[in-house]
Symmetry: C2
Subunit: 341 residues, 2 copies
């Protein structure tokens, strides 16, 4: 079984954008607020909206996508906490409907109603709702709800502890994923995403978070940002800070996905990061949608790169494509077992 742990709903029907426009217009002119969060989208429209994902799954040979709302769409920095909550609820409900309609193709991961400067504790009710009532298997946690100004505390700060307690209690991992950037210095998918991945890993390296939360699990997307490329730097910095080796200090809790869009990057990732810490992902349909003229294949068809790494045994491949995902997302594993039964 091939599980792609990183897919966003990036093919939303127009009604979603129309709602969001009205919602944000309502900040300036309350008369423009949408009358209802009921978008009137039929099951047919939703099924149609993910046809392209289904075609790619078939074409590229993956079975199941862990599916969450558009990452750049979360935009936690926009509006107010109440706007973030309303938008989050609507976004998660859409994911839930799609995953209920196509349970063999999509499993749900949610967004959280974060807002800069507001305690992540306020996200717990929505987290509990999507996991306990709707069967979501994970969440995306935004380490920078300010959208590129990094005004909230680092992930190792006690500020974040309430949400970590809830994640551990519910047995769901968090993917550390920023949203769009309102800082003109940072292109979203070309700088802000990758920087956030690097930053999160370094915060974890500096801290001792997993002493307090030995069961907490984080997935760092986009191949871990710059981290595997600079693996020697991070091993060396850890030594200078008198931390235990990375395997002991972080790698029971921190995992990387394979959203790296060329073979040399994937080969480096699989060479330096232990195979138990790598989860297959493509983030399709996502940041980079074209065909690589050097290969004639889609940049984000990452399964091809993994298949090319001669050093990976079949057992290694099974871990990357399925086993690690079922271990990191125990609720996914339970769901798959229940479906097979």
């Amino acid at each position: 079984m091939i599980i792609d742990i990183h897919g966003h709903y990036t093919t939303e029907p127009q009604a979603v954008f129309t709602f969001r426009d009205k919602q944000l217009a309502g900040l300036a002119d309350p008369a423009r607020r949408p009358a209802s969060a009921e978008l009137g989208l039929s099951d047919e429209v939703l099924l149609k909206s993910v046809e392209k994902q289904l075609a790619f799954q078939k074409e590229r040979g993956s079975d199941l996508t862990i599916f969450s709302p558009r990452a750049s769409g979360m935009a936690h920095h926009v509006g107010t906490e109440a706007v973030s909550l309303e938008w989050t609820t609507l976004s998660n409900d859409l994911i839930h409907r799609i995953c209920t309609l196509l349970p063999h193709n999509f499993v749900a991961v949610g967004q959280l109603p974060q807002f800069p400067g507001v305690s992540p504790k306020n996200c717990i009710p929505e987290l509990e709702r999507i996991v306990e009532k709707l069967g979501f298997v994970g969440v995306n946690l935004n380490p920078d709800p300010s959208g590129g100004y990094w005004t909230d505390p680092p992930l190792t700060d006690k500020y974040w502890y309430p949400i970590y307690e809830a994640l551990v209690d519910l047995e769901v991992p968090a993917m550390i994923h920023v949203s769009s950037s309102c800082n003109p210095n940072f292109h979203a998918t070309g700088a802000h995403y990758i920087n956030a991945d690097t930053t999160a890993f370094m915060q974890l390296l500096q801290g001792d978070l997993f002493k307090d939360f030995p069961k907490l699990k984080f997935v760092i997307p986009h191949g871990g940002g710059a981290v595997p490329y600079h693996w020697g730097r991070y091993r060396g910095l850890g030594m200078m800070m008198k931390k235990p080796p990375l395997a002991e200090h972080l790698l029971q809790n921190v995992f990387f996905d394979t959203c790296v869009y060329h073979y040399p990057g994937i080969r480096l990732l699989t060479e330096v990061v232990p195979v138990d810490n790598i989860l297959f992902a493509s983030e399709m349909i996502g940041a980079v949608q074209g065909v690589d003229p050097q290969t004639g294949h889609y940049f984000d068809d990452t399964k091809r790169y993994i298949d090319q790494v001669a050093e990976l045994s079949e057992a290694d491949q099974n871990k990357i494509f399925e086993g690690n995902a079922r271990r990191v997302y125990p609720r996914l594993d339970a769901k798959l077992k229940a479906m097979a039964a």
Copy 2:
């Protein structure tokens, strides 16, 4: 000849720190201001302070280091513009003395008296002084003088154009190098440096800066941050933005150093980035000072990794170790020719 293009003066005598303490204490209590910027350091003390660098040059087989003030020490966000200027002048003068004392080992690159929110135009007098009067061959340009809040415009903004005009007129390249971080989210050498490298490259990819400045040259340090590891992402994003291929759009003007502290990273860098765009560097004595237990050698002994890349011909190695540096730093080339004559 082996030229290490990225070395900082990280072994300063205590008098330098004492001056800086007094200078910053003077912000709160003018009575504490240092009486003079004359530190009273003898040539002997300065020579002694770089003994370790000289020993490493010999041991590792490099000949010449392009030497600039401690990067994290620039701290453009601290104090006032006047403080930045005084500190910059003093720091550059020290580099000048060392490079004059040891002209076969060190060639000078300067810092600029940047300050957040202040036009880079104000840096031109110091730039002209160090290049024209003191013979510096390049400068470090900080793309985020705020120290981790990124409040100044992107590098492609016309805000920066006056300094680019001066760099082109003087025929000196800029290394894009941030300083310390006052944002608790960003560890300096583990996150802020690497993020800035990635961010700068992405800004350049989005823009068309080199249409306006075809002769401007930037060196992106630390192996280009995350960029080579995500080379497929950047090639794909460029295509989506309808930019010319990277070779044409950026690689006449943008160069990467080799401060990547393990062999797999250097192998990837040399595999994906054209050899004409790679300049040897180690940033010793810098961010990562220990010995890698996996190899028994210093993490930052980057020459060893390059020597191991079997795919590099002798001609390629010569470019990386010497030829590219002489091309990117024409004033270095002139200096070396004059010394040989």
